[in-house]
Amino acid sequence: MIFNTKLACIGAVGIAALMFTACETSAQFYKGKKLDMYSAGGSKGSYNRHLRLMEKFLTKHIPGNPEIAINPMPGAGGLKAANYLYNAAAKDGTAAGTLLKTIGLNEAIGRRGVKYKTAKFTWLVSSGPIDSVLALWKSTSPAKTVEDVFKKKVILGSTGKGSPTFIEPTIMNATIGTKFKIITGYKGLGKVHLAVERGEVQGRFASWEAIKCCKKAWLKENKVAILMQSGLVRNKDLPKVKSVWEFAKNESDRDFLKFIAAGSTLGRIYLAPPGIPKAAAKALRKGFWDALHDPEYVALTKKRGMGLTPMSYKKAKDLALSIMKAKPAVIKRAKKYLLRKKKKK
């Protein structure tokens, strides 16, 4: 009995020492180190903009105050950065990244070129949803109300057939009966916006933040009508605008549209490669969470019209995994719209 008590005491001291060491390690892990952040969105996009704004707050809040280096890695619809972060980036805690909201969806539908397992990434946080909205230019669009888009042909601009700016309106045409004609090929959302302003197209189904942040005059001068949005839950800025899935006519359509909408809600995710040291993961999760809640950062994002509704790593990961566990019928339907056509035999 005495032996057992001694053993228990030694064990307790040992565990306490280990825990202390772990805490110490977590706090000191990044001291004097550099954290390489890879951004799937490239130097032009909002991913890079968010990361740049967050940079100094990450240094401030990640224990050990690491220097942050931002490496834009656009390409292949986000696959390049995702594959790199999973397979090639350093797994010693000195690399992390912001990947596109479609990582789980791409794995679920078996997109060619996916070389990662969504579940195995070290999830850090999601800074908030990336909601798309249907914005129509009032002076050129024949549709003025949400009812009109089911009756009148509206010309939308899109960046390409592989992009959400084409896929989501196409799905809407096929499921809820909208009548969009989609013109593809604009190099970036900025060019779509320019085409909207010069009347070449009459609207677009794309990022809400891109309007809120960078096209404030459109809202101020009441030039656009925001008629639908993409998320599972309505964006807090647009409580009266219905989500696309709310227009579904039957259960099967609703399941499918919710599956597509989940990516929007998953939003702007931050991850590290799989298998990084636990101390690093702990420090990163704490650092990201605290940075996103720093009052100065919150005020800056608000001022600049950048979305911020942080979601913990657990919730974000669960949401991503729930996308992957969708019903086979939903996945099959998604493949039809989202996968590239195979070559002719």
């Binding site: 180190k33 130097s43 032009k44 890079n48 903009r49 740049r52 704004l53 940079e55 100094k56 280096a69 931002i70 490496n71 834009p72 890695m73 656009p74 390409g75 292949a76 619809g77 696959l79 390049k80 594959n83 090639a88 350093a90 797994k91 010693d92 000195t94 070129g113 010309i155 960046t159 390409g160 057939k161 592989g162 084409f166 013109i183 593809t184 090929g185 604009y186 190099k187 900025g190 060019k191 916006h193 320019l194 085409a195 302003e197 010069r198 070449e200 197209v201 942040c213 960078c214 096209k215 404030k216 005059a217 001022k303 600049r304 590239r340 056509k341 070559k343 002719k344």
Partner: protein, 678 residues
Amino acid sequence: MFDMALSALDQIFDPTRMMFLVLGTLMGLVVGAIPGVGGLVGLTLLLPFTFTMDPYSAIAVMMGLLAVTTTSDTIPAVLFGVPGTVGSAATILDGYPLARNGQAGRALGAGFAASMLGGLIGACLLAFSMPVLKPLVLAVGSPELLAVCVFGLSLVAVLSGGAVLKGLGAACIGLLVATTGDDPQTSQLRWTFGTLYLYDGLPIVPLALGMFAIPELADLAISRKTISEDAKKENFSGQWDGIKDVFSNKFLVLRCAFIGAGLGSIPGIGASVIDWIAYGHAARTEKGAADTFGSGDIRGVIASESSNNAKEGGALVPTIAFGVPGSASMALLLSAFLILDIPPGEEMLTSKLDLSYSLVWSVAIANVIGAGVCLAGANYLAKISMIRIGILVPIVLSVVFIGVYQASRVWGDFAAMFLFGLLGWLMKRFGWPRPPLVLGFVLGGLIENYMFISVERYEWDWVTRWPVMLIFGLTLYGILGPVIRGFLGSGEKKGVILRSRFGSPEFSPASMFSVAIILTFGTFFYKAGEFEFGAQLVPRIVTGFGILFITADLFSQIFFKIENVSGTPVKKVQIFDFAESFDHLTGKEIIRRVCVFIGWALSVVGVGYVVGLLPAVLVFLLCYMRFHGKESWQLVLIIGISVWLFYLLLFQFVLDVHWPHSLIGLQFPVLRSKFEIF
């Protein structure tokens, strides 16, 4: 408006802000002179520091950097035939031949002076057009952009020199390469060969460095002559001649600066096209250009350089007026604006007009400072052309290797550069003009894109828009004008009578090369059939025409002999074909030296894959100078280690570039976390 402009000038002349402007300018000069690196890397580096600055200082440092990368990019273009940025590709067509003729100082002087004037004119245009910016930009739709791109493509004929059919064939190669990657119309992947590298198309940096840098460096390494060895004498006070050249061609500078600023202000044209269009314009309109452009005419340098600096002013138009970046650098600038709470759009033209004018002043002042610094060093730089090739080639090639990796930061960049390097070298040897290939590449994607948007949106009504008809009219005039003038007897005026004769077939390595290109086109034509209609249309048209052009050229090569029966000498001009004389070498020796050069180049990448690119560069510098250049160990160690340490300082500690992961670095992550170069 003038109050705002003066207030902005007052803000910029604040001593601290001027210091930032000078700092940005000096940094811009450094990054512009390094092939493949350019303003984007420099701006990425600067960006974090600007967030804590006031908007005027941030604008000063960023615009200082961006405005002058196209000034210093003249240096590698003239001295080594290596484009410093994609915007200076056309500069090499005449700049490099001038250096080979012993006139590097003159070419640099003209390039820098033209850059400065072009930059100033661009800034002035921006300043005066500010109030009418918005309606102007809104008037240009996809059909107009398509018309401008088609006009640009019509310059292929000018850039082909005396080999029009080969030039058209080369343009078809460029157009075909431009169809690589994700097709936005059908979402099909074309010619990606299962790699992610080509998913978004081939980056232009490996293609441009492959087509221009590798063939020139290979030829220098094979001939083992210094850059200006064939010249009768090097003129080291030529920079003043160059400056005088610029002032005696002031209307050319003005026209090309207008082209640069005008096209730069249209989002969707792109920096890599503008210098070609300005060069083509000069080649068409300048007196006697047909005989001298491409073989060392200073006006070619002036045209290209004045346009590419002017475009920076123009590119600010869509950036500040609409928040639509005209280039990747402008995109980064825009993201800095948003973080600094400088909202692009209406406000920049109204309540924040002073900020817009501080952009204008920054561009203008940076151009003056940048050109001043470069001109002060022009004659010293010109002496580089006298350095022994055993020392120069490894130094320049190392920079090219480091630079090309920055294109998309994957090993595929090296593979692409080697492939196009080999193609470029073969084209050069067999008398194929290379500029049309690059022009085809930069315009190919745009033409396909705007064509589909125009047809999808307007069906065929877009053809009847008056700006489209006007530009198409100009294009037709540009193409048909010389043909008509030719028929009116300009050949007779020169007293040249050429007669073609049908003869027995003659095969040469050049005809074998043409056959290989035809077969490649044929293969791609066949494989394009696997795509759906929308995705196969352009590749099939391009390869079809390619086969037609090259077959016609091949037929004339094999069966026809051209004789000059008049006795009057004919000056045959091949644009940028400063043919390296290998007369002193046997065929066997040339092949041996080519293989040795390829071996050296591959060894850098091979060793780099194992130990890291920068360590491999050290090994390459030392080994090449010692064993290939036959330099003394003492010299090799002093130069090799000094140059390497300079690279380490510049790329690792100043520019903080990304290095490829090596096997050693992957095996021992600790090593990489301590020393990023592994």
